[in-house]
């Protein structure tokens, strides 16, 4: 696009971002501060993810953007168009065709490969945020790997609900060292992060933090020995493709209590239906 650099950000900003990314990859799960720029969309709409995508995407890449698993929601469509316009890159809705996937709230059902990068949009990068109000103190807690407080939160869950009832942004230990917020993906997706073949990058624009999980890194969900982590999903089959293993969205179909469960990953659902057809 005329008047703008490739992928919107100027090269100096991208270099700054890449330096932060290199650090992030070197220390899996550790939050690296970066100078987040003003982007042409509001905070909370994926400014962190867009900046990360902008600094890793090249002319030959194919971009897929999903929001809650869907390619056709406003946020996903806008971001996909943004890069089509500012970088002129190819875009796709098919997980297998994409080389860079920017996501909000989901990991695709199709296992990712070493040739892919997944970029998560992160509203709150600090997993200890609600337990410890002081940023200086949470940094110290990370530095010293003092994560007892996080287990207090899990303890409270079991005490109150009889189980760990955290359904999204379920805290994980990365590489056996850093406690990390996986972004608001459902706990169902947590196991997909463990030893994932693709590079996982996380960008929090408002909080100005970047972090990463390199390929094949251990990502373990916190739990108790007697209350082990369980990835929950609605106990239904997808109303469209019949999948009984994918993560489902509940869709209200009328105003008389009618509802259906469908795959949250639209590409996954469509691919299955094509195969059947």
């Amino acid at each position: 696009m005329k008047g703008y650099n490739f992928a919107y950000l100027d090269e100096q900003t991208k270099r700054m971002l890449r330096r932060a990314l290199l650090k992030a990859v070197a220390i899996p799960g550790h939050q690296i501060p970066f100078g987040a720029r003003e982007m042409p969309l509001p905070y909370g709409w994926g400014t962190g993810g867009i900046q990360v995508t902008a600094c890793v995407i090249g002319r030959d890449d194919t971009l897929k953007v999903i929001d809650q698993g869907a390619d056709d929601t406003t946020n996903a469509v806008s971001i996909r168009r943004f890069f089509a316009k500012t970088a002129g890159v190819a875009t796709t809705t098919r997980t297998v065709d994409a080389t860079v996937i920017q996501t909000r709230h989901r990991i695709p059902e199709t296992p990712l490969t070493e040739a892919q990068i997944i970029v998560y949009q992160v509203p709150q990068p600090e997993p200890l945020y609600k337990l410890e109000p002081s940023r200086a103190e949470t940094r110290r807690m990370h530095a010293l790997a003092e994560y007892g407080a996080m287990h207090v939160k899990l303890y409270e869950q079991v005490a109150r609900y009889g189980q760990i009832a955290i359904s999204y942004d379920y805290p994980v230990m990365v590489n056996g060292r850093h406690l990390m917020a996986p972004s608001p993906i459902p706990a169902f997706d947590n196991p997909k992060m463990h030893r994932m073949k693709a590079l996982q990058l996380f960008g929090a624009g408002r909080e100005k933090r970047i972090y990463a999980v390199p390929p094949y890194t251990d990502v373990v969900s916190l739990d108790f020995e007697d209350y082990p982590f369980r990835a929950g999903r609605a106990p239904h089959a997808c109303a469209l493709c019949g999948d009984t293993a994918s993560y489902l969205d509940e869709v209200v179909t009328d105003d008389r209590g009618g509802r259906m469960f469908v795959c949250s990953d639209t590409d996954h659902c469509a691919t299955r239906r094509e195969r059947v057809a």
């Binding site: 110290r140 003092e146 007892g148 207090v152 303890y155 079991v158 109150r160 108790f224």
Partner: protein
Amino acid sequence: MSGPLLSARALALRFGPITALDGVGADLWPGEVLAVVGESGSGKTTLLNVLAGRLRPDAGHVWYREPDGHVADVHAMPPPVLRRLHRSDWGFVQQDPRAALRMDVSAGGNVGERLMAAGARHYGHIREEAARWLEEVEIDVARMDDRPGTFSGGMLQRLQIARTLVTRPCLVFMDEPTGGLDVSVQARLLDLIRTLVRRLGIAVVLVTHDLAVARLMAGRIMVMQRGRVVEDGLADQVLDDPRHPYTQLLVSSVLAA
């Protein structure tokens, strides 16, 4: 065990023009309760914080004898080591339990935190231990899942005691643990602390301005005035045969110590 658990020598600390500590030394032996008394501003809380490694002195040293007999300079310890000590073998009981407790976490979670910080990962075991400690401090186990916000002042302080003692520390620092409580509530708390401390053989540095508390709890008393120790000795010696003018003033100001 040979030698004191905690030793301090020639501690000095100034806050601008104010002398908070001036040549203060102290020895604390395993299982011993040492009361530090004096009026507000005498430097007793500053001393407590310096002994506990929470405040660095301008001069002087504090040594701690670790369970394996190795003697470590508290102020030369790397921060992670000191923090670990504070979560396991040491404890700190503050005057205001609200500042020490997690008010948005249940009583059981508050007691279990130090266990979890020490690596406990079995919910059932953590809960059993928390229940045991709530009983120890006379909090109804039925209140285990309640948040401390609904507790009375005395209960809050007892909860802080349980939360501190759950890892069975050998050394606990207490800063006016009964300050701000009703007299009747104070008596119950003091008796509870006294019983637990004796039974578990915990060494305590107790800061208090209340000589009656010092007499009830402590084997030894140090009297501080303007950052100096003006008198120290066995509790009955200091209270029944006070020698320094300031100690005599303190003792004579009390209705019945």
